[in-house]
């Protein structure tokens, strides 16, 4: 698998260095902070590729267990490459999950009690009643396109074929509609 090159922030590299230099399991604050920083990114990747909240949460745990264990064991020689390591582990474990490998259970049994699972700030929570009100404010076409796109996860070409519109046209309506929905929902959140 091609190794991606993703630059970690200086703080992330410092955290990785602290974990690597400490006696195994003794830099728990740094481990928790590293977990907190990378958890949302791994979860996003998991949601995109596994399309399941629970599977994405499982992936998040597995990837960060592997990462922290690798740092503790001194297997990651360049802490500056921590983001690339996490990303590569994401890709590898996602493939394994798709193949139904039993690595997850093995890892959790081995390390779960020993690695801190920090609270990570994950996806934003929306007021669904407000989303419904904001959907009402969209044009008929925008609402239809968003519903057909996101309720049944259909790409622009398929939605366009059903409505006798081009995929390009659907992309424009979809993007404009979602931005308007976002602005409306966020406006009410900020007003609270």
């Amino acid at each position: 698998m091609e190794s991606p090159s993703i630059e970690a922030s200086g703080e992330e590299a410092d955290l990785a260095r602290r974990i690597a230099l400490a006696a195994a399991g003794s830099a728990r604050d740094a481990e928790a902070e590293l977990y907190r920083r990378f958890a949302p990114r791994v979860r996003r990747y998991g949601l995109k590729h596994l399309r399941d909240e629970q599977a994405a949460a499982d992936l998040m745990q597995q990837v960060l267990l592997v990462t922290i264990e690798a740092l503790r064991a001194g297997k990651l020689r360049e802490p500056d490459r921590i983001a690339s390591f996490v990303f590569g582990t994401c890709r590898m474990l996602t493939l394994e999950i798709r193949r139904g490998a039993a690595r997850r259970d093995r890892l959790l049994m081995q390390y779960a009690d020993d690695v801190p699972f920090a609270d990570a700030s994950l996806a934003p929570r929306l007021d669904h009643e407000r989303v419904a009100q904001c959907l009402d404010r969209l044009s008929e076409r925008e609402r239809t396109v968003l519903l057909m796109t996101f309720y049944q996860e259909k790409p622009a070409a398929e939605v366009g074929a059903a409505l006798k519109l081009s995929a390009g046209n659907i992309r424009v309506i979809r993007s404009r509609g979602l931005q308007r929905l976002r602005d409306c929902v966020m406006e009410s959140k900020e007003a609270l």
């Binding site: 994950l122 669904h128 044009s139 239809t144 519903l147 006798k164």
Partner: protein, 191 residues
């Protein structure tokens, strides 16, 4: 790249296309690597994912009225959603209700739609001014406008008469293509 120095923020459209698997492999990989190093763009994707979930939840709760297509309704049925469907002939009427088990109500307003490029819907409830829905989506080849009303509202509504007029609009003006009456009876469970 990190949160404080995102010099090439990803656009909203690109993130939507990424989420919906519409990009080729190379473009997807570029976005993926960027997202992994950039919390600003990652948070933007989180919003898109949350909004997509919000749309699904709102429709699932019966809080979205939308003009849809036959294919959308067919897929709902395939997903084992309990759909109550009414077909109303052009200028016709129907006696309708919503039962406790219904999850989605669909009305098919039959009309000759060939050649029509823009359609507006005028809706009438009691003595109130009509509500006008401009430029409603439809498939001109299907021979019907397909609409899913808010089932949550219908369920709570008393018995009433509701009327819809479909009006074609073009450079020559407006032309009515159908008038439909819904005689809605509220479902009352037997004691």
């Amino acid at each position: 790249m990190n949160a404080s120095n995102c010099t090439a923020p990803l656009g909203f459209s690109a993130l939507i296309e990424y989420w919906l698997d519409e990009l080729d492999e190379a473009a997807e990989a570029r976005i993926e690597e960027h997202l992994f190093g950039c919390e600003v763009c990652g948070a933007k994707l989180d919003e898109i994912v949350a909004l997509a979930g919000g749309v699904r939840t709102a429709f699932g709760e019966g809080s979205v009225r939308a003009y849809v297509t036959d294919a959308f309704v067919k897929r709902l049925v395939e997903q084992n959603v309990r759909v109550r469907e009414y077909r109303i002939p052009q200028n016709g009427s129907v006696n309708c209700t919503v039962l406790p088990d219904d999850e989605v109500v669909v009305s098919r307003l039959e009309a000759p739609l060939g050649g029509i490029t823009r359609l507006d819907a005028y809706t009438y409830l009691g003595d109130a001014q009509p509500q006008i829905f401009r430029d409603i989506p439809f498939d001109p080849e299907s021979g019907a406008v397909v609409v899913t009303p808010k089932i949550a509202l219908l369920r709570a509504a008393p018995s009433h008469v509701y009327r819809v007029r479909l009006v074609a609009v073009d450079a020559n003006g407006e032309r009515e293509v159908g008038d439909y009456t819904f005689n809605h009876t509220r479902f009352v469970p037997s004691p």
